[in-house]
């Protein structure tokens, strides 16, 4: 675990010396805050975050793509991965350390949205249980997207290519939910794969073990594949 922390803390520091963290936080809070104050507060007059979380479900895709895109591609392009791999650190510790740094940044940005429920509590009477499960959903959803971003970054030497890969995969997955209109088992499968079912359940206050298992398996699968990709890139 010490090695994971070593990798994670280096990455986290480098987020804050570059404009990445600040730009991402700015973009995220601008769009989400705009939605919350103009739509939820001024138009719907409901003391919930359902609409806001719905936007977050899509907004977290570009955010995840941007904060993970450089994590492996930059190391491969500049060659620093060669030195990193000759230190006594396992490949999975490197992947997990980088993942943890991106997750911590995401949590940091997400934590800034706590102003919304606080605002709701001042002027209304929100259901705190639903808001908490909504945050759990936002966390798991973001964690899944970040894992995909790490995998994409391990596949390319170019950060831009990595970002394009994760945007394509994640938006395709998310829009699969539109396929649910065809109905039947196939429609259900599409809906389920798109994260919409899981995320909607959680932001509606419903904790279903299957949803959580699905997201955690997705994270595990993406990270595991990233470790393999890193290994294979050395065998070639």
């Amino acid at each position: 675990m010490r090695n994971v922390a070593t990798i994670a803390s280096r990455e986290l520091k480098s987020y804050f010396v570059s404009p990445v963290a600040y730009s991402v936080a700015f973009f995220f809070l601008l769009v989400l805050g705009g939605w919350f104050y103009f739509i939820t507060v001024m138009n719907s007059h409901k003391a919930d975050l359902f609409g806001t979380f719905n936007v977050l479900g899509y907004l977290s895709i570009p955010v995840a793509a941007v904060i993970t895109m450089h994590l492996f591609s930059d190391e491969r392009r500049s060659g620093t991965i060669e030195l990193l791999m000759t230190y006594p650190i396992n490949d999975w510790e490197v992947v997990l350390g980088k993942y943890m740094s991106s997750l911590l940044l995401y949590v940091f940005v997400l934590a800034m949205t706590i102003q919304y429920p606080v605002f709701l509590a001042i002027f209304g009477n929100p259901d705190w249980g639903v808001i908490l499960t909504g945050y759990l959903g936002a966390l798991l959803l973001g964690a899944s997207f970040l894992a995909m971003g790490i995998l994409a970054s391990s596949l390319s030497r170019s950060a831009v290519t990595a970002a394009v890969i994760s945007l394509l995969v994640l938006f395709t997955l998310r829009f699969l939910s539109a396929g649910s209109i065809i109905g039947g088992a196939l429609g259900k499968t599409f809906y389920y794969l798109s994260f919409s079912g899981q995320f909607n359940n959680l932001s509606n206050g419903l904790i279903d073990t299957r949803d959580i298992v699905y997201m955690i398996s997705f994270i595990f699968f993406a990270l595991f594949t990233a470790v393999r990709v890193i290994e294979i890139s050395r065998w070639k």
Partner: protein, 321 residues
């Protein structure tokens, strides 16, 4: 101690490293010589556990590079050829990260950092940002990174390229000093560097090991005759003729270089290895009426050896045999 056995790395259908075996004893500095693209970097990448070998193996301090990779990595310090560093970090922060990555205990970390910073002369710039450093300083940071944790084995890939002459001699002195406590592999294509620093030398060409010996041993084994270099003024054909008549002389080569000031030509006289013909040569030249300007023993330079061993052209081959 490094033991390499039949190491091989194949990319597609070409072997970058082909059946290479050698051994480096503790405390030795091994010069790892070869032209560009000979397989030096690939070999070092395998020894540092970055690339897995296609076949064959190596042991570092008794640990197998493939099966005990993590233990090997604790024993080595590696300076890759192009010195990849994290551009956005400050030198001290970067070296601190390296110390953590090498699992150095918090209690020893500061001392270890300070020692590496001192050895590489980075004290004045330790708070500088890596992207703003000159090539020479980047090289030093790379070396400091390798030295952190005082690994038993150091592998340095072309550590002096891109440095100015003073920096080169500083780095060479440092490597020489390090050789007293560490086992060092120094990959280079700069020949004088090897004769200056190294105890032993291996030469690799097109992935294959072509020589492995001490510098003197190599010279001795490739020297089949005694050679004397002379500088004589006069008609070259006449000079060659009288020199060949001296008993014991096997061949006379006229070199291309000319002594511009004296107007003489430079010759190398090959003679029997067990007879000293220098006095006879001098007498013959004087008797023939030619002007003897200079005479000195001629020994193969590492350049000659290197060209002999790595040049594939049949003409060169014949000269060698």
């Amino acid at each position: 101690m490094i033991e390499v056995e039949n190491l091989r790395k194949v990319y597609g259908s070409t072997a970058a490293v082909d059946d290479v075996s050698f051994k480096v004893e503790r405390g030795d500095i091994l010069g790892f010589l070869g032209p560009n693209a000979a397989g030096k970097t690939t070999t070092l990448r395998m020894l540092t556990c970055y690339l897995p070998p296609t076949s064959g193996t190596a042991r570092i301090e008794g640990f197998d590079i493939f099966h005990d990779s993590l233990k090997v990595r604790k024993k080595i310090g590696y300076l890759p050829e192009n010195v990849p560093l994290y551009q956005d970090m400050r030198i001290r922060d970067y070296l601190d990260f390296v110390a953590r990555a090498k699992n150095i205990d918090a209690a020893d970390r500061k001392a270890s950092l300070n020692k590496a910073i001192g050895q590489c002369g980075l004290g004045d710039v330790e708070n500088g940002i890596i992207s703003q450093l000159s090539k020479g300083y980047r090289q030093r940071v790379g070396l400091a990174q390798a030295l952190i944790g005082e690994p038993e084995v150091l592998m340095l890939d072309e550590p002096t390229t891109g440095l100015d002459p003073r920096q080169i001699s500083e780095i060479r002195d440092l490597i020489k000093e390090l050789g007293q406590g560490h086992t060092v592999i120094l990959s280079t294509h700069i020949l004088p560097e090897v004769s200056m620093i190294c105890d032993r030398v291996i030469i690799i060409n097109k992935g294959k090991l072509v020589a492995s010996d001490s510098v003197e041993g190599l010279t001795r084994s490739l020297t089949k005759s005694q050679m004397t270099q002379i500088n004589v003024k006069g008609d070259p054909d006449g000079i060659k003729k009288i020199l060949k008549e001296v008993p014991g002389v096997l061949a006379v080569d006229k070199k291309h270089e000319m002594d511009l000031a004296g107007g003489g030509n430079v010759y190398v006289v090959h003679s029997n290895i067990d007879s000293d013909v220098r006095e006879e040569i001098a007498r013959a030249i004087v008797r023939g009426g030619f002007g003897l300007h200079e005479m000195r023993p001629y020994s193969l330079s590492l350049e000659d050896i290197f060209l002999m061993l790595t040049n594939e052209s049949p003409v060169e081959r014949r000269r060698l045999n």
